[in-house]
């Protein structure tokens, strides 16, 4: 284990508690984990309490206060990965390493863990090894991988040799990919003044691509009402299971992204811009720094103070106010609103938070003019949007589609294989029955079926309840724990769903599923709890028969067949009682 002192490891970082995530990453990278002694030293260095550090370490998935292996392997648990065979991959790892998942080998060389969707659903099953993604895993690849790692081979070399490097497969691009024919460095000269920029964005009808679809120009205008200094933040947390379009945009269109952010900074007269990158995309960090450095020649970019903040694993941090908390080096718990970030955001400064794709589109709108953007889409949903399509389709990958496209058309584009169910917008989105033809005529749009980009297709071979339970478990795992309905309610809902799926449900259990979903949705503090029960409510609407099928309505709500002896058998065994 590395004996270097904490103060040496973090020498390059400013003495600033808001950079706590960076400190913890630096220590963990150098030492493998963050020990009590490290916490003690760091607390002294930053002049904060140790408990403040522990609060943060225990909140995020990828921070460890105990050893977790020289090679820590995180297996993607998304339903897409499950269908692609991640459980078998897990078994192979377990057998080859002689550990169970959640454990570390005796020699501390390997640790095997599970994690939520890592944004590789188009190349499932996938895993992160020391935060490097390995996609398209097979049992053979896993066996070779372990042998080679034991032999001392380099992770990055193995990733290449085993053909496990993530690829971006673009099947259709309408706007983003077409040539950036402008001389980039001259872009800013045509940007007249902040008001013109905002007017252009408003005219384009651009709405946020992160999910909620707030009009982007209006958000910027609201922010301008509050006195500066103001802040621009890009949300690259992309945590919704099944989404990976931001991964692609960050990889291939980082220039447009940074320009979009710089244009936003100009519009709200800000000199500070932050990109919050989810930990699962750590492998993109160097690339993003490289692009940003290259762009420094341009005064539009240069006049801004930039920072790329690496997250540490927590879906809820995608919620914008939780993201700001995390950016300030704290637990990623959503804030109360009001005040909204446009008024009090990062460190209390007026802040706009926008999705990666939103900023990329801002560059395109400014480049091409708002009319050319508006010609796509519908009345309320202007322009195009990226879809991340995965599941039972012949062509998983990236599709840029106009808003207003019908589900039927999307299914044709991606080559859906006898589709049974479509999950539009991820687990927090909507469950669609793909066997009902009229449903397939519905349009992706804010008017009808909004989506943050996740589009998962499931064929008739799949068991719907397995999918739904995977989604509910995701929300149980990812609830931040701040508010009662989401923290306790999702656990209750998950158990109740299990009860029904296991065949123990009575007619009134379906009713309570609906009613309890309503409680959680209506009382939760942030969008996570407000939408997690949609897993249940939208699937009940789409597939009422599968729920009914699980219920034996001949049974009364009184349990006449209650087997008392069986129910108390544990007790009898322990106390050696025999009632026979």
């Amino acid at each position: 284990m590395n004996k270097k002192s904490v103060s040496k490891i973090v020498r390059h970082l400013p003495r600033d508690p808001t950079r706590l995530l960076d400190y913890l990453w630096a220590i963990q990278r150098a030492k493998g984990f963050i020990s009590p002694l490290d916490i003690f030293e760091l607390a002294k260095l930053l002049k904060i309490d140790e408990s403040r550090i522990k609060e943060v370490i225990t909140f995020y998935h990828f921070f460890f206060d105990k050893p977790h292996g020289e090679f820590s392997i995180f297996l993607d648990q998304s339903i897409i990965a499950k269908h692609a065979g991640i459980d078998l991959i897990e078994k192979v790892f377990e057998e080859a390493l002689g550990v169970k998942s959640g454990q570390m080998t005796d020699d501390w060389q390997f640790g095997l863990y599970k994690t939520s969707c890592i944004g590789m659903s188009d190349q499932a099953p996938a895993a992160l090894i020391n935060m490097i993604p390995f996609v398209n895993l097979t049992t053979d690849k896993v066996l070779t991988l372990i042998t080679c790692l034991k032999r001392g081979d380099e992770l990055l070399k193995l990733q290449k040799d085993l053909d496990c490097v993530p690829q971006n497969t673009v099947h259709q691009s309408l706007v983003t990919q077409d040539q950036w024919d402008q001389d980039i460095t001259s872009l800013h000269t045509q940007i007249l003044n902040p008001q013109d920029i905002i007017q252009e964005i408003i005219s384009s009808g651009l709405r946020g691509r992160g999910g909620a679809g707030f009009p982007t120009g209006k958000k910027w205008q609201l922010c301008r009402q509050y006195p500066g200094p103001r802040v621009v933040v890009c949300n690259a947390d992309e945590g919704e299971p099944g989404t990976f379009k931001d991964r692609y945009l960050l990889t291939e269109h980082a220039t447009k992204l940074f320009y979009g952010m710089a244009i936003a900074a100009k519009a709200i007269e800000s000199q500070e811009a932050y990109l919050y990158l989810r930990a699962e995309y750590t492998y993109l960090l160097d690339h993003l720094h490289f692009v940003l450095t290259k762009l420094q020649r341009d005064p539009l970019i240069r006049q801004i103070k930039w920072r790329i903040q690496l997250g540490a694993g927590a879906y809820v941090v995608g919620e914008e106010s939780a993201l700001l908390e995390s950016l300030e080096g704290k637990r990623g718990e959503p804030r109360l609103r009001p005040p909204f970030p446009v008024e009090k955001g990062y460190l209390g400064k007026p802040t706009i938070v926008n999705n990666v794709e939103t900023f990329v589109l801002v560059s395109k709108v400014l480049e091409k003019g708002f009319e050319s953007f508006r010609k796509w889409g519908t009345d309320q949903s202007a322009g195009v949007r990226w879809l991340s399509i995965s599941g039972d389709v012949s062509k998983p990958g990236l599709y840029e589609v106009p808003w207003g496209i019908r589900l039927r058309e999307v299914l044709e584009l991606c080559g859906a294989q006898s589709p049974l169910m479509i999950q539009v917008g991820g687990p927090s989105g909507e469950c669609i029955n793909a066997t009902i033809l009229s449903e397939l005529e519905r349009k992706l749009s804010f008017e009808d079926l909004p989506t943050g980009g996740s589009f998962m297709v499931f064929s008739k071979e799949r068991d719907i309840f397995t999918i739904l339970q995977n989604f509910m478990q995701f929300f149980v795992d990812e609830s931040c724990g701040n508010c009662t309905p989401c923290r306790a309610g999702n656990v209750v809902l998950n158990n109740q769903l299990k009860k029904v799926v296991d065949g123990h449900g009575r007619p009134q259990d379906l009713m309570s599923l609906t009613q309890w979903s309503h409680v959680v949705m209506k009382t939760s503090r942030c969008g996570l709890g407000m939408s997690s029960p949609r897993v249940i409510t939208t699937s009940m609407k789409a597939f009422p028969e599968i729920y009914q099928h699980k219920i034996d309505s001949s049974k009364s709500s009184l349990i006449f067949d209650f087997d008392e002896q069986k129910a108390t058998s544990d007790y009898d065994k322990i106390f050696g009682e025999n009632h026979e």
Partner: protein
């Protein structure tokens, strides 16, 4: 300060601008149940969600919102009352609350609220999650089975040297309150009392002390008298 006019359950009301919705309603005789918030709690925490009401047709936590002109509020409707009660019931199944043997019985805000709402049982199945008890403090006992994660102790309490003594660790349903043992051991008499009183339930209590006040003199002993049963 000038007054703002608003409506609640069809009645016209007014209250000084800048008051929270909870307080604005209270000034008009309309009581919204609260748990993480109580008079004097500042800033509001917004964690329990027991005070959920409807503002202009949309659910919101009343303690977190400021009253404004022409607000339309729904508070005492069956629908809202049921949502509020459901949250209290959720808290009862999430923790392990055995009022009969709890030192805080009669002084407990969760128990008081449950009685006030006429809760006889929980509609949700009990989880029976075991929580570890921290008995290693010098003065205080941390009984996590009773913690409702309101965050009063973690966010609002500091010792005489302005240091935080309590914190949260973990995430989601695994979130647990923790106590800094060094700071706890140095707590002054009045600070100990302050935090025991701050905790709405019996999760932070004095070590080596049982029931505090005789029955009849406890905080909620006469609360229900006014309520028709």
């Amino acid at each position: 300060m000038s007054n703002v006019f608003f409506q609640c359950d069809g009645k016209s009301m007014q209250a000084p601008a800048n008051t929270t919705v909870v307080e604005a309603l209270k000034l008009n005789g309309e009581i919204v149940p609260t748990l993480c918030w109580s008079p004097g709690i500042e800033p509001c925490l917004g964690t329990c969600r027991v005070c959920t009401i409807k503002i202009n047709g949309k659910e919101a936590a009343a303690c977190t919102q400021t009253i404004s002109e022409n607000m339309i509020i729904e508070s005492a409707t069956d629908e809202i009352r049921d949502l509020q009660k459901a949250i209290v019931e959720l808290l009862f199944v999430e923790g392990n609350h055995y009022c009969a043997s709890c030192e805080k019985s009669g002084d407990c805000e969760l128990q008081g609220l449950a009685y006030q709402m006429g809760m006889t049982h929980s509609r949700f199945p009990y989880q029976f999650t075991p929580y570890e008890l921290d008995y290693t403090g010098v003065h205080l006992l941390l009984e996590r089975n009773r913690c409702i994660h309101c965050k009063r102790c973690t966010d609002l309490f500091v010792d005489d040297k302005q240091r935080k003594v309590f914190s949260f660790e973990g995430k989601g349903s695994d979130t647990l309150v923790q106590m800094n043992h060094k700071y706890e051991s140095e707590l002054s008499d009045h600070k100990r009392k302050e935090v025991v009183d701050l905790c709405p339930v019996g999760a932070i209590i004095f070590k080596g002390k049982g029931f505090d006040r005789p029955i009849g003199t406890r905080k909620f002993d006469h609360w229900g008298d006014k309520i028709d049963v």
